[in-house]
Symmetry: C2
Subunit: 379 residues, 2 copies
């Protein structure tokens, strides 16, 4: 075992240009766009071993490995993707991308608007999950991939996976839908709107053109992230991690930090507000709100799934209250009713919604076994 055993090692992102216009769901046309991409492993001659990783709200193309030895952290799903890992890069050619509208190198609010010569900012069009599937299909074309061995995603990534299976059934052999939901609940939408309002009403937001004012809506983005973070963690997990532990010996009787959980949340908020683009955050939350594949089928999810040909693996986590197991049950029930092949794993976990990024043993084993089955198909 070398030092890098299990890791894809050093990786380099590439920016891929797509020069054909893209008609978006909102009616606008994007004349061109770039996607920032990383790949791991090798595409086989039959081009049958390609796996697409779809990211969630704040994810990006940097799925695994490091960009430099000095990097403190590896990619966001490094525990899942690598040689010998559940998504085994000795077997699969894995593609991670930053979604259109993102803030990590793909075309988005931070990109140059050719019409104005300035950053798009708030003028970048609203992107939907359906739009992402179109862009990811062009990405597949770029690599000459006709069919994905698997499309895989957690949370908002799971929504892209479902949309892939619905919109391009002939191009998805396996759809792995983790910690997701067939559409947001009212409560989900409500939390998203509070986050958006925190950002939009930040005086430094400037109607989304904060870059022109050489500032960032840090306050709003920080509040959005703090609140979001609470919803990613289970009540039990948060309790076990921090309880009512105090920073000091006794109550401070002021609005500084009393409880350790306050320190943790504020730190998470501060960090996020410096590195993530507010317009992208807004756009991603709207993509979540709008996702509802059944809406085109008279609100009948079974009908939406009728034409998919992918085999599906659905995973949920017991303490996830953002997208609870019940939301995965809705997906599974509709798949079964539509007479599709579906396997379902409900993982007992302390980690809430964030569990899809963690390493609960049953989850890692389940992914390993399922991907191992796919590996045999592509061998």
């Amino acid at each position: 075992m070398t030092k890098n055993s299990g890791s894809v090692g050093l990786v380099r992102p590439q920016k891929i240009a797509f020069e054909q216009p893209l008609a978006l769901q909102n009616g606008q046309v994007l004349p061109r766009f770039d996607l920032m991409v990383e790949t791991y492993g090798t595409l086989n001659a039959a081009k049958s071993n390609a796996v697409l990783i779809c990211h969630a709200l704040s994810g990006n193309h940097h799925v695994a490995g490091k960009h430099a030895d000095s990097d403190k952290h590896s990619g966001w799903w490094d525990n899942m993707v690598g040689p010998g890992k559940p998504i085994d890069t000795n077997v699969f050619f894995v593609i991670g991308l930053n979604n259109l509208g993102g803030c990590h190198g793909s075309s988005g609010p931070l990109s140059n608007n050719p019409e104005t010569g300035k950053a798009y900012g708030a003028d970048f069009p609203m992107i939907t999950v359906k739009d992402w599937v179109q862009t990811q299909a062009r990405l597949a074309d770029y690599f000459g991939i006709n069919v994905w061995a698997a499309v895989i995603g957690g949370s908002l990534g799971g929504m892209q996976t479902m949309q892939w299976a619905i919109d391009m059934p002939e191009r998805v052999r396996h759809a792995i839908i983790i910690a997701s939901a067939p559409k947001l609940s009212t409560q989900n939408i409500a939390f998203n709107d509070v986050a958006r309002q925190a950002i939009i009403t930040d005086p430094d937001f400037y109607a989304g053109h904060y870059q022109e004012h050489q500032t960032l809506p840090r306050r709003g983005l920080r509040i959005a992230r703090m609140m979001g973070h609470i919803t990613y963690l289970s009540e039990d997990g948060l309790g076990k991690k921090f309880g009512r532990a105090l920073r000091n010996d006794d109550y401070q009787f002021n609005y500084d930090i009393d409880f350790e959980v306050e320190s943790y949340l504020r730190y998470q908020g501060d960090k996020f507000a410096e590195i993530f683009d507010a317009n992208t955050y807004l756009l991603m939350t709207k993509a979540l709100d709008y996702f509802d594949p059944a809406v085109d089928f008279d609100d009948d999810l079974q009908a939406a799934f009728k034409h998919i040909s992918a085999k599906c693996f659905v995973v949920s986590f017991s303490t996830d209250w953002r997208f609870s197991p019940e939301r995965s049950h809705e997906i599974v029930r509709a798949l079964i009713a539509a007479e599709k092949s579906v396997q379902y794993l409900e993982v007992l976990s302390q980690h809430g919604h964030d569990a899809f990024l963690m390493e609960d043993a049953a989850y890692m084993r389940g992914m390993h076994v399922y991907m191992g089955k796919i590996a045999k198909e592509v061998a």
Copy 2:
């Protein structure tokens, strides 16, 4: 039945001055204070029929009735308090007050600071649940009430009820603890801190001295309320009320209002931000965070309850996820272990935490029956 049957009718608040210094839990001494109070019904000769209503985060002294015939709304617990209602003003002398630190007439951040001649603002001392019990005891003294027939409260009001039973066992015959918890969970504290950070980082907050700057931290208070509101409602209830109903025929692809729930929440936030004082909101959330009566008893709630003599009635609501039934179970288990008299009612409800203000039949009937028992004792 007259038009006002069941209503206490027109009521008038009174401001009562307490001129003796009050030593607070945080070490400060308040030289004097006022409490804004309303009373309903008549104190009997034995002064044995007095009931104290403790309010929750945003409540006040105006519990029942109207101040003018033209008032659109009655007091916040008008469905519970009145002639023939569960807390029957034909039987009981009911006192509602605005807690110390409040913003509805009692001494608080909006009051004049005698030391500066200006409003206290952020200089008003931090008040705790224990402090409130002290002030409410002085209120009892003012009315010549040695023993409350009942102390009653929901949510933060239930915490005051518990603290009363613990700190002054000889003065409470019945403690009615509704939709409450023996202390906040980590998640509860986390949500409170996000709310506080939204307010404190609002540029119009001015370190709590916004009055001097002729402004209000509306943005922050609005976000705090919107988020809080989500946690007061059940996920199911919110779903049943709004679902994914759109304001218009189709998605707007902008950040205005798409979903009806967004409109509802923003309205709630806007309204609250105009009428509620931000410093009071901060103070109330801290009182919630700090409440933990077991902490003085080696974290042993049973020991905290050891010396109480009140008979207890504990009520919880099935879909309350802010203070779930499990939190009430903790109270009930400790009371039973401490060999206290306790009755417990768990109400099947759609209304989440807000259910304590609603009229689920089992809840209203349970309160009616329990208060009826007390009525026989005071007759």
